[in-house]
Symmetry: C2
Subunit: 210 residues, 2 copies
Amino acid sequence: MAKTLIPEATVKRLSLYLRCLERLREDGRKVVSSTDLSCHLQTRDAQVRKDLAYFGGFGKRGLGYEVEPLISELKSILGLDRTRKIALVGAGKLGLALVAYPGFKRRNFRISRVFDNAARKIGRLWEGVEIQDVELSDRVMKKEHIEIGIIATPGEDAQGVAERLAKAGVKAILNFAPTRISVSEPVIVKNVDLTLELENVSYHLNRADV
Amino acid sequence: MAKTLIPEATVKRLSLYLRCLERLREDGRKVVSSTDLSCHLQTRDAQVRKDLAYFGGFGKRGLGYEVEPLISELKSILGLDRTRKIALVGAGKLGLALVAYPGFKRRNFRISRVFDNAARKIGRLWEGVEIQDVELSDRVMKKEHIEIGIIATPGEDAQGVAERLAKAGVKAILNFAPTRISVSEPVIVKNVDLTLELENVSYHLNRADV
DNA sequence: ACTTGTGAAGCATTTCACAGCC
DNA sequence: GGCTGTGAAATGCTTCACAAGT
């Protein structure tokens, strides 16, 4: 039913267009051209038009795109117009920083449950959420229909947690642990490896003379 | 002088090969084939061979690639065989989590300076590093030849910090703030937007029926 | 027999260029 | 005049298929 002919690269840029539009809106802009959008991101104007045209003719010829309606359209396309419940496993420094991260709330992502396996952490409150025993996660997550799981454990625990999350009926997993995970269930898995970008930088520094 | 004919996609995979090889080494493997490597990542064997061949004939026909030498080669290509000094600006929850992140140390990235502009944070110790006034950053960074800057401030401060880092002679900037930054100087800028992946997940959940 | 290295083919994405509309 | 939407061309990346080496 869904037309999956849309390039993944296009979908990734949608989020960037949304950010850019929100900034332009704050500056009071009512209408933007594809050229306006393209010069703030690093791409060509034709790319912007083609990307947006995949989802419908949002623009007006001779004029451009209206900022406010386009923001709404993009939010709807990205599914950001409704709240998504998230459970996070691993209440270490990184995990707790993610729970407090304002960028998630701003996009309607709500980390409503936090789990850990360390007795000394269980029961504590963080950002209004109680840290619970990971053993309870299966039941809680099924009952509350939590869609997304975030893994912020040490690398060696990541695979086990991933399998647990998958069994608990999660539809997507975001893995911040520096270990590749694989799941048999039909779950969307995204690995967010914080060192990858640094390694990439290191490579390019190495090449640029010295 | 540098042959820049190497696809960026290849460079990104190099880091993944390195991780995979280190795991295989722990399992006691001495030699691997391109097929071994490809099935752990999600790519084809020919891709692995082509990627590695860009940098030299590391493999032996009929046999495969020796694990230990290949790990060394990849580290050298990625510039991970020497320590890189990093300064982090923004001692909030995310910033401090990054300072403590073990994955960076493991790859020879050393966050040797931490800066903030909040008086109540300045002077505190974290992971053995003193949090310093961001006003001192220019002088300190130039003196210590710090190559990489990490921005972990709120979004509204990111652009200003980026310009400051660029003037302080940094060669690359990793921006964790949810705001696009741009710098005039010839600096490598990488935006690591933690919400991008979540938004991508949200899009795909939206498409997969409900 | 097994596995690399690589030109050639195939596929995906980006850019060009222009018709169509405001 | 300015700007979108879109086929067609160009570019870039991946996969195939096989010669060559061990």
